[in-house]
Amino acid sequence: MLDDFMVRAALAGIGVAFAAAPLGCFVVWRRMAYFGDATAHAAILGVALSLAFSMSIFVGSMTVALLMALTVSLLSGRGYAMDTLLGVLAHSALAFGLVAVSFISGVRIDLMAYLFGDILSVSRGDLMIIWGGAALVVSLISWRWSALLTATLNEDLAHASGIDPKREQLVLTLALAVTVAVAIKVVGVLLIAAMLIIPAAAARPLSRTPEGMAIIAGAIGMASAVLGLRGSYMFDTPTGPTIVCVTATAFLATSVIKSVRQARQGHNGRG
């Protein structure tokens, strides 16, 4: 079964969606969208370093993503204007990464694969890394779930309950770095943040509990991966972007459901 590149691609997409869903919910709830972007964009610098020192791209990109995420976490409590700072870091990391890659001869052709993913070339080894990473992220988040949720609601309430919000932030930072590293092959550094944010945002109108939102986001993400893969095969479009297009369509659909529901409630309220 794993001999079929389409099967491997589908499994890779599902694995990334599995990890991205619960993490993406926290990214949305904590308004960390730009933080996800900065971390993901920094990974291209990791790719360049991995190629230069011929080491595993997974390890290289995860290390740089982690360093970036830790830097941002560290700076965040210190009175910098966060959105500006993240904008500076995200885009300069991407630019430095692209320049660094250009120094390495012979990989210029491959650059697109790291920017937009190359899910159809996922090997058995990649699949093991993706699912290993996804399992790690999901178990980490499930283990810390209640503490993470409390810290997300309010840091002082967390302190009052004996939870250290900084430690929970670190858990999310770690999970983010691992997710970025496993998602590069599937959607590429430019669209990783999309896989985090869009399924979670699409799940919001359909959910009443935080757990429900994470599960629905997972379902939307996984379905999008499979549908996007089929779509890209049928229409001969780039696979990573096609997957993101499907999640965006899901977001549009649930947003419409939400406004229809609100309009109906408003109508009932008047009547």
Binding site: A147, L149, N154, S161, I163
Partner: protein, 247 residues
């Protein structure tokens, strides 16, 4: 034995010292109110007591086995986070639904367990936060400007609820309040803070202290006058809210 004892506490954020050599204690059953201008370190003091900020100097000691319930300033729940009151009160775990229902009744909102947190009104939300603080059956309640953003009637009824909770459970209350008329009528002791403790004592003693008058000036006189005034003309809500907005 005091429930909580703060000794020589100094807190610094970066290069800015917000509290220096603050000492304070709360005994069982008493209501202590902290007043002070904006930026006087009131919130930092409460956050140091719950362990959210590390003191630069000094220390905070709790009596053995003393449980503290903390009600933060009105907190913002992101619209993107779907969560019911029940689920919110269960966090971070180890609480039974029966405990939660008791706490909600005590806080005066017994029917809200199934409601979405982001849909609550300001007054309901503060009561849910109060319920959260009451779940552990605390001996000491910490309230950080708990009525901020509520209108006159909402805040009066919230303080009435606190008073009722205190009568039922006998817990002590340490609160920050801007509403000087409430402070002056309900507190056993008032601590006037401005980076350090300016003065403290019974409401009458503090109100006549020169340090307090220097800080609050005519505003205090106004608030006290307002408080007396309120006994005569309880219906005159418009005036009070204007005066409060100006403070």
């Amino acid at each position: 034995m005091s429930l909580v004892q703060v000794e020589g506490l100094s807190v610094r954020y970066g290069t800015k010292t917000v509290l220096s050599h603050v000492s304070l204690h709360v005994d069982p059953g008493e209501i202590v109110t902290i007043v002070g201008p904006n930026g006087s370190g009131k919130t930092s003091l409460l956050r140091a007591i719950i362990g959210a900020v590390k003191p630069l100097k000094g220390r905070v000691t709790q009596g053995p086995g003393v449980k503290i319930g903390y009600v933060p300033q009105r907190l913002h729940i992101d619209e993107t986070l779907p969560i019911t009151v029940m689920r919110f009160l269960k966090l971070p775990g180890g609480v039974t639904p029966a405990n939660i229902n008791d706490a909600l009744s005590q806080a005066g909102v017994p029917d809200l367990a199934g409601a979405q947190l982001s849909r609550l009104s300001g007054g309901q939300f503060q009561r849910v936060l109060l319920a959260r603080a009451l779940i552990g059956k605390p001996e000491l309640l910490l309230l950080d400007e708990a009525t901020q953003g509520l209108d006159q009637r909402g805040s009066a009824s919230f303080y009435k609820q606190i008073e009722q909770v205190r009568q039922e459970t006998g817990c002590a209350v340490l609160m920050i309040s801007h509403e000087l008329h409430v402070v002056m009528s309900a507190s056993d002791r008032v601590v006037c803070l401005n980076g350090h403790v300016c003065c403290e004592g019974t409401p009458a003693v503090v109100a006549s202290a020169p340090e307090y008058r220097a800080l609050f000036g005519t505003g205090t006189g106004g608030a006290l006058a307002l408080y007396r005034h309120e006994h005569d003309h309880g219906h005159d809500h418009g005036d009070h809210s204007h005066t409060e907005a100006a403070e």
